[in-house]
């Protein structure tokens, strides 16, 4: 397992950045995930995919251990589905300032991760569902909602409302 980490590391980091919306938090999350992975290395089945194992572990660490603390520091509890992050992150590590990652920034956390796994990492719906530990239907819903948010029509609606 340890020998495979260098190859997966950049993708794990990207996964953490997209999930947390903050480079510093992603650094913390990746470090915490690596520690957990090294401690549980004997549980990894070499016949399975290391990236999925690590992504799943990072998600659990984030959701179960780190995210609530980060949200508290951000100034208040926010419903998970409403985490568009721009309201939480005001530091320079916030990836949603500026226009460089504007499309990623449009989506709430759950949709960002689904899009990253399926449209960037190339996971099937089933693999994404297994990695995220959610039903396939939920993956499909998140992807559909993300596609709508990313479409030009969403820009027009936002412009009309603003």
């Amino acid at each position: 397992m340890r020998a495979g980490l260098p190859e997966v590391y950049p993708r794990l980091w990207r996964y953490a950045v997209v999930m947390t919306g903050n480079r510093d938090w992603a650094d913390d999350l990746v470090q915490a995930t690596m520690v957990r992975a090294l401690k549980k290395a004997d549980l990894f089945d070499p016949k399975t995919h290391l990236d999925r194992w690590l992504f799943r572990m990072a998600q659990r660490v984030w959701l179960n251990e780190l995210r609530s603390r980060k949200i508290r520091l951000g100034g208040g509890l926010v419903a998970a589905e409403d985490l568009t992050d721009s309201t939480l992150h005001t530091s320079e590590a916030n990836i949603f300032t500026g226009q460089v990652l504007s499309h990623i920034a449009r989506l709430p956390e759950a949709q960002r991760i689904a899009v990253l796994l399926v449209y960037v990492e190339g996971y099937s719906y089933a693999d994404a569902a297994e990695t995220l530990d959610i039903p396939i239907g939920t993956v499909m819903s998140r992807l559909a909602a993300a596609r709508k948010k990313l479409s030009p029509l969403a820009d027009e609606e936002t412009g009309a409302a603003g």
Binding site: L5, R14, Q31, V35, E65, G74, I104, Y119, Y125, L150
Partner: protein
């Protein structure tokens, strides 16, 4: 007259992704009116831009760190031995391990300020290379001040100590804040504040783990400033901080 079937966004998404069952794919392909084609086009636009942004993120990923050997004995109240890794990674991974353990080693028996010293002993100049701007400093201190119920936003500047970052930690369930500095000579310093009720104590110079330190407390918080070997610098800085906080 039969009405054309309406397809949901989920169904169209599955079709676009090649995940639709054969019957659905056939139904959509057979019903490609101009409106449906427009819906499919609109659902397709934007994904490429997301993909491009994700690729740019990948290109900016940090290098793979040297992994120290981590020997963990027991469950969450583990002791951690750090092997020959870089100071930056060692500090980060040990900090993460401590974090995962739930608290800052609250079950190891050592007082909080000693465990702060253990943690700080891992720091190297590279650990604190990044120095934020004034806005980020104010924002960090304001947020963490709320966390620890002590106004940190007006933390004074101290000659020769350059602010690097502030972060939340924890000790035995109590809130612990670390404010990290680096001196002009590249020596890391830390001002740590533990929110815990107790008796006040006067400023006291000391040495912990070979590092110069100063401790003091009031009825609701305990403080330690630690780093390097320059006791006069520590004493002078602690004097300023203890009056201001």
């Amino acid at each position: 007259m039969t009405h054309p079937r309406e397809f949901s966004d989920e169904e169209l998404t599955a079709f676009l992704d090649g995940e639709a069952e054969e019957a659905l794919s056939t139904a959509i392909t057979s019903a490609l009116t101009p409106d449906l084609k427009l819906r499919l086009a609109n659902l397709s636009t934007g994904v490429d831009a997301f993909r491009a942004e994700a690729d740019s993120l990948l290109a900016s990923a940090p290098p793979f760190p040297d992994l120290p050997d981590i020997d963990v004995a027991g469950p969450s109240n583990s002791r951690f031995w750090v092997g020959a890794g870089s100071g930056v990674v060692a500090a980060g991974l040990v900090a993460s391990a401590i974090w995962l353990a739930g608290t800052f080693g609250g079950t190891s028996g050592e007082p909080w300020h000693v465990q702060v010293a253990n943690y700080h002993d891992l720091y190297t100049p590279a650990t604190l290379a990044k120095k934020p701007g004034a806005t980020q400093r104010t924002e960090e201190l304001t947020r963490l001040g709320t966390e620890i119920r002590r106004d940190l936003s007006s933390l004074p500047d101290v000659d020769r100590l350059n602010y690097c970052r502030a972060q939340p930690l924890g000790f035995a369930g109590d809130t612990l804040i670390q404010i990290a500095f680096i001196s002009d000579q590249g020596v890391p310093f830390a001002l740590c504040i533990l929110q815990k009720d107790g008796e006040p104590s006067a400023l006291k110079a000391t040495t912990i783990r070979g590092m110069a330190a100063a401790t003091w407390s009031d009825r609701t918080h305990r403080f330690i400033l630690i780093g390097g070997a320059d006791q006069p610098l520590i004493n002078a800085a602690a004097n300023v901080f203890s009056k201001a906080l």
